[in-house]
Symmetry: C4
Subunit: 257 residues, 4 copies
């Protein structure tokens, strides 16, 4: 577990650990509630349960948020009383905390309720504070930023040109499905990613030929980001493993060395 979670840090008191695990549990309970609430039959039967979970969660998360903002001044990074707190409020993790309680308060106003209910699911991002994995993903993406941007750009260019070609070829035979370049892009994505739902496919011989060439060539190009991410991930985990090994524990007292 040590490799996956930050919550298991060595220097925590028992109370801190209980609080952390309690909050993680509450976040997961919330995620489950949002998912089940979206099923009509469950919502009809257990509406009071879901409403109570919501009420209690918002109360606890609000309390958590206030305390976090208040105590942020003790953190080295946000030491100045007001400006420091403001900077903490604008940090990504604090914004997630805010976003997970704001919809509730906004729902008393004039906003559309249904969207707000689903936005609640973004509360699951609160676990980002505890899950090391998300930090790893973030670092991998930052580390391979240049390569990923390059390939995404090339893929976008390719999609654009392929879709415009296909539009020229197929729009007459199937004006409802290949009627414009944006419409044809829906086919392009389905083919290049090999999802192939089957709602849109060429029927003319020329369209089928182009589709075949694109599927084969596209497979190669679309797999490049995959390769980049995979290698970045393995490098990152390898480095972290080495760092973990270097930063070891005393065999006698169990303290960090």
């Amino acid at each position: 577990m040590h490799q996956l979670l930050n919550a298991d840090d060595g220097g925590q008191t028992v109370l801190e650990r209980v609080t952390d695990w309690g909050l993680i549990g509450l976040v997961l309970l919330n995620a489950g509630a949002v998912v089940l609430e979206s099923v009509k039959s469950w919502d009809r039967r257990y509406h009071p349960v879901f409403a109570s979970i919501e009420l209690v969660s918002v109360f606890i998360f609000t309390l958590e948020y206030v305390l976090r903002v208040w105590s942020s001044a003790e953190d080295r990074r946000y030491r100045r009383p007001w400006l420091g707190r403001l900077r903490f409020v604008l940090s990504p993790l604090a914004l997630i905390d805010l976003l997970s309680i704001l919809p509730f308060y906004l729902s008393f106003g004039l906003f559309d309720l249904r969207i707000l209910r689903v936005v609640r699911l973004f509360r699951v991002l609160k676990v980002a504070r505890y899950v090391r994995a998300l930090h790893v993903i973030g670092k991998v993406i930052r580390r391979k930023r240049a390569e990923l941007l390059v390939t995404l750009g090339v893929l976008g260019l390719m999609l654009l040109m392929v879709s415009s070609l296909m539009y020229t070829i197929e729009s007459e035979a199937q004006p409802d499905k290949f009627g414009s370049i944006p419409d044809t892009m829906w086919w392009g994505v389905a083919t290049l990613t090999t999802v192939g739902y089957g709602d849109v496919f060429p029927i003319t011989p020329a369209g089928k030929l182009l589709s075949s060439v694109i599927a084969v060539l596209g497979l190669g190009l679309f797999a490049i980001p995959t390769g980049i991410l995979a290698s970045g991930f393995s490098e990152q985990l390898h480095e972290q493993h080495a760092a973990d090994a270097a930063f070891s524990y005393c065999p006698h007292c169990g303290h960090k060395l």
Copy 2:
């Protein structure tokens, strides 16, 4: 074959080898019988044959199980007469052996017959005792446990959020297919894994845009476990190869060194 099977071990007598290969053959015969029995026309015509195979197999597997439990006390690991045998009974391979005969005896009771008939197919796991490959897979998964858990967790999180977003966008246009978040997850899995059966796909422009972004970005993330497993596999086989080479045979007498 030496690389694939444990059955070919150097230190076995001819009788042991014959028994091992006989049991492997019986397991494969059983697998074939279960598969063919599920085809109605075959079952109608050859029912007595399948029933005989079942009867003989259960008899032999029961005998094997009893003998294995009895003789387990001679193994160093389970030396104590009763407690050792109990510990052997609870070991994974012994549990598989038990599971492959238990359904037959339970079917005399009040349990649903059809499920029991299929559970019989899990007898194929009995070959795990002889097939080194399954040990390799097991070791690879254990070796890459942390990375796999991390990515599976992230993928689960991503699936959850993507499905909830899609639910908000598409549930009005297609209430029968995107009617709840769990329903929408079926679309999410089909898209992220690029299976794309074609039974569920977005029809609104916003839904198509989200689906496209997810298919492209998801391809990268969903391929990470693949990369991890592939590299783990090649590392494992490489190490084993090195170990095999180090543990060589005398060129004069053919004995292990």
Copy 3:
């Protein structure tokens, strides 16, 4: 940005940079216009806007082209007054520049208008001058040319033989979909690339068996170009990174060393 674009070169004046970024912007505006113009409802409402963008773009791109050809004589590579300019006109980047204005002038003649309108989208290739990424892709493909040709050839051979086999098996059961080898190849590509639109699939047991074997074995073969491209890409970026690091900037004056 330095890693992605050539436009950011150190030795440029402010005017040069403004021109470069202006041209990139114009190219992207053009791409957007072509895409939106293909949507009927947009075209009806904003036709004058699209026409104006076209007119202004062609004017500027023509001016750019004339100036580039004129000034090419100052480039070391094309120093001779007329022969040098001719050689510049035939270089790939200059041909793209020519292709992005030619359709406009041809549309006054007797050519089909619709195709010319889409050919305009190939103007996006003008950004190739500024985007380093396309150079990288080009280098990767050149570097792995031999491997890619080998695998593409093998894949083509495999597709040919698999489709002819499937044609023999399925053409009687589904004469409309597997009626000839070229028709069956459409199934072959959809299966080997795992796109699987779902418009063509075998229904006979023998066809399903062949399709299954091909899907599994083909997965492996079709992924080889992917692996080759991915490794070529990572090697290329690695080398470039090393070259960038070696070709560093003076910490005092900011000039290249």
Copy 4:
């Protein structure tokens, strides 16, 4: 081209080269003829052309075969007059040569004509003699034999168990599509390889859940052979490249060193 073809060998006379390239051309012409002949409308119109190509090809290939068998005795490997020739006839390349003329002679007998016509397409395998790439693929598969067998075995086992589970879950809801374990395997292959034609998919919640889990987990396992083949391919090409470099040409006279 040197890297792709064996035909370009240094020690060949002009006549040998012309013969080799002529035979390659004839093989490709034959492949094209078989493919086009399968299209009814082409066959009706150009039947005499296809028949002539067939006749001439069989004549030349028969001549080639007789000459090859006759002259094989001069090869070091098949030196003995009769036994050597017999051993040559049984070598893989000679068998392909025989298979590409035999169907023609058999079609005068009582065999089904349509299958024989398609078997002719296997003549394309005659290019194996000249295309180095096929040797490379062969070597890669031999080099990674053990790993490939292991994973294919595990995948087969997984497919068997997954299909039997799905059969238990879905056979009642969709008896026409999941009516027996072999039928369900068609779904299993489509899902595990992510082809997803869309003709068979689960409709019960339990079936969808199982399908989702399998698609995700299966993706990882099914990609292992891919990874093995890709790495084997790159190793093989790397070694060959090194060998080519070591076996270089004299800079003065152009002869091999």
